[in-house]
Subunit: 147 residues, 2 copies
DNA sequence: TTTACCGTAACAATCTTTGTGACAAATCCA
DNA sequence: TGGATTTGTCACAAAGATTGTTACGGTAAA
């Protein structure tokens, strides 16, 4: 399992917070605590799905390609091409095993259904929603935190 | 991502097919095409969740602890303690990043919801259902397959 | 034409999962 | 009781996936 979805939502939230400006990969990497190449690698998927635009020159960087409210989490998931919540095991069943033969097909149906259900759930939440939610939860500053 | 869920359902289907007999780890491993230790490692979770029983001696092996129709796929998922379809990224956000602070909490809510939805979907299907489905899909024998 | 970016390939480092061997513990059966 | 069978689990190797890093080419703005 990977954490690209979380990373993507994090980045999209940052972009949503400053819809006017282009943010550089370097800046995003700093904010999140990783490397700029990791950001670019990930953003390639989001760009392909028309969720963000990039510009590669001085003053360049990343922007949302549309309002944050119009980017659902399901779109993000689809963009990342990670539409499998459960994975098939890939051992070859013994040829005499009658269950093994049909099981993959049966499981395939189940997994397809699960993925549909996930997308329905994620389809109801937008990046704007997540950002708003995150901002209401900002931790109290250090000063007031003691004792 | 791992494929333990698929493996578990496969094994449970095999046990469901012969509710009277105890099947050994060795036999299950052969049927599925893996190692007996892998089976035991996995079954430890299912046993802890009271889905199967084991007996360690001559004539021993594994059996379902209840009828296959009473084992939902959601129970299997819970038993495997894999209740996270999406994973948090664990980079420390930069302290000045106001989004980063609250984002984990916001994502946590989202992920919790997704997991709930998955369990609802899997709760409606039993091992007996999967087995029945698998058996209707048995591939045609080699002979009739050609041309 | 220099500068500040992105794009991507290549490779290293890390983490996770799966496979394997070894051996103790439990239980059955003669 | 003793031997055979099977689980339970540890330890470690192998394989695979993900993430981090360096390097370098391309592109557009100033």
């Amino acid at each position: 399992m990977n954490s690209r979805f979380s990373l993507a939502v994090h980045i999209l939230s940052l972009l949503a917070q400053q819809p006017e400006d282009r943010l550089t990969s370097e800046f995003l990497a700093m904010s999140i605590g990783t490397n700029a190449v990791v950001i670019r690698r990930l953003m390639a998927y989001l760009r392909k799905a028309d969720l963000v635009t990039s510009k590669g020159a001085a003053g360049g960087g990343w922007m949302l390609a549309r309002p944050a409210a119009k980017i659902s989490l399901a779109m993000v998931r689809v963009a990342l091409e990670e539409e499998v919540a459960l994975r098939m095991h890939k051992n070859r069943p013994h040829p005499d095993c009658s269950v093994g033969q049909g099981l993959n097909d049966a499981l395939g149906l189940v997994y397809g259904h699960v993925d549909t259900v996930i997308d329905e759930a994620l389809g109801q939440m937008s990046v704007a929603d997540v950002l708003a939610d995150a901002l209401t939860k900002v931790r109290v500053p250090e000063k007031t935190k003691r004792t």
